[in-house]
Symmetry: C2
Subunit: 341 residues, 2 copies
């Protein structure tokens, strides 16, 4: 592959090269890249949502096995996921990059192509950013704006006693994908393709996650407004605890209700890991966790890819994991904590 | 000074510690830190402005002489400057930090105290962010939202032939402050205080710049809407060229009209530097550069700290610096280009 040094373009040239042909597609985007700030015009009555995510090489991703295009896609999608988790719609992002001389112009084209693909798929405009040299590795900082009607916004603090606790998709799969990738990285050479065969879904969950726009749309169509919601980025335990703390309630999560992908369970067993622990603490699933009033039970049952995993309790009950034999364990949030690694 | 390791608090504990007691003061801020996204409610008819800035240790700042509190203040203010440069008012920021184990909790408290001071002074709310471990040094990514009435927004592309070119404050001073700091750093030990005496203003321009809200207010009160505007972060030459390119015009800048601080000129002479070159290419002044219709001339003359430095010409004339003896030189934008350093 060709390698063009960034220094041949310079800062302004690089930005121009990466952002030319970027179109604004959202009616709310009045002015994108090219001025001191982007300008948006939102419909009257819409509330503006804002979230941000910082990804650092060596902490959040390892370029030995993460393709740059996938990384760009994921960096954008994890922000969209936060906007959906408010029951909103993402509309604009800014992208800031710090890049060392190790990266070529072609590398950054790959990264941008992933960001642009994610934007295209989710109907989001790239409206600005900042590109800079870095002394060390790659830094990606994305901020996302979205909108919602005020009455539609779902916070973390609205869960009530007896509410159902639901999650979308499955849990722990992205973490098992990471374990596979790390094992092969440490093993070094060899026929990785053969090892990965049949496990592509696990890798995809780690490398190229999707935000659950479809779940938000389903809930909307069914006329369900969750009482509390957030996305699962640090593992179910940690996220359930956020909702319980902020809502002033307790919870019971049933181990046998946790949605587990069969392949993920197989790989976990092969690696001598507990898939339940992975599902509770694995992180990076980007599924939605939400609580619903009991009256929505009938509507929830037929819905696609939504699973009831427990219910909200009085705060005195604490946060509990109910095991397969009825034993009760206190939920512990390991979450993701690189500071103590 | 006490040193508390970040690992004793962990990721969630650190964020909680740094962001507790943060109040929302803007009527537009409905929900700040603590959910998947912040929520804003802007007055009907307001447009939303968005800008972002990434600061990397070793590229944009050197902690050998930049106090963390000043760094926090500056990181916020440079974003406010971009919003003012659209003729808008900043209202919310998110702050993402990547921090290595070299930094203590007290260090981050200092950084945050600077950010919070800037927010307080400029009436901006801190509504979210992301804090993460880093393998290498300090990364600061701030995104700022602001608002403006649609009819008030000033872009870079509106300059017309015969418009006056104006700048606020003075130019090259922040760059001379940087030269002083770098010289003392390289010199090592010694009585820095004695060297810096009487030159505090230069250091302040580099270490703790302000955004020119006062200029925006003055223009507003005088009923002047610039035809084009931007802030001067990469040096006047580079910025004038942006306005000329985007507006499809040329310009004449007069060397003897450039506003130069007398102390900065003295230090430049002492260091054998051309203060004119510093004023044109120094960067980090965070002054406002704007163009005005000729009819506003009478109003501009009595205004405080605003200087007419040239005028807009037909594009055929090119971008020209007119020297003290009437000689004409082509303006060259060196700007800031760490990629080619």
């Amino acid at each position: 592959m060709d390698r063009t040094e960034i220094s041949t373009l310079g800062e302004f040239g690089l930005i121009k090269h990466l952002t030319e042909n970027i179109q604004l597609t959202q009616p709310s985007s009045l002015k994108g890249i090219g001025d001191d700030a982007a300008v948006m015009k939102y419909a009257p009555g819409r509330r503006v949502l804002m979230t941000t995510d910082l990804l650092l090489e060596g902490v959040h991703f390892n370029l030995e096995y993460v393709p740059l295009k996938h990384l760009g896609y994921k960096a954008a999608v994890v922000n969209f996921s936060d906007i959906y988790a408010m029951n909103g719609t993402p509309s604009q992002i800014t992208v800031s990059l710090g890049v060392s001389a190790r990266f070529s112009v072609e590398d950054l084209e790959q990264l941008y192509s992933g960001i642009r693909l994610a934007c295209e798929r989710y109907g989001v405009d790239l409206v600005g950013g900042d590109t800079s040299a870095s002394m060390t590795g790659l830094t990606i900082s994305i901020t996302c704006l979205g909108t919602a009607k005020e009455e539609d916004i779902v916070y973390r603090n609205g869960a009530k006693v007896n509410d159902l606790i639901c999650v979308s998709g499955n849990l722990g799969t992205a973490y098992m994908g990471l374990q596979l990738l790390e094992r092969e990285r440490i093993a070094g050479g060899g026929d990785h393709a053969a090892v990965f065969e049949g496990k592509e879904y696990l890798l995809e969950r780690q490398l190229k996650p999707e935000a659950r726009r479809d779940i938000i749309e389903q809930l909307h169509q069914a006329g369900i407004k969750p009482t509390a919601m957030m996305d699962v980025s640090d593992g179910l335990s940690s996220e359930v605890m956020h909702i319980c703390h902020q809502s002033g309630v307790g919870c019971a999560i049933y181990e046998d209700k946790l949605p587990i992908d069969i392949k993920a369970a197989e790989v976990a067993e092969e690696m001598n890991l507990s898939i339940v622990t992975c599902a509770l603490n694995g992180g990076e699933d980007y599924e939605l966790l939400f609580t619903c009033d009991l009256k929505d039970y009938e509507k929830l049952i037929p819905m696609d890819d939504i699973y009831i995993v427990g219910h909200i309790t009085k705060p005195e009950y604490g946060m509990t994991l109910v095991g397969r034999n009825g034993e009760e364990l206190e939920l512990k949030a390991q979450g993701w904590n690189a500071f103590t690694k």
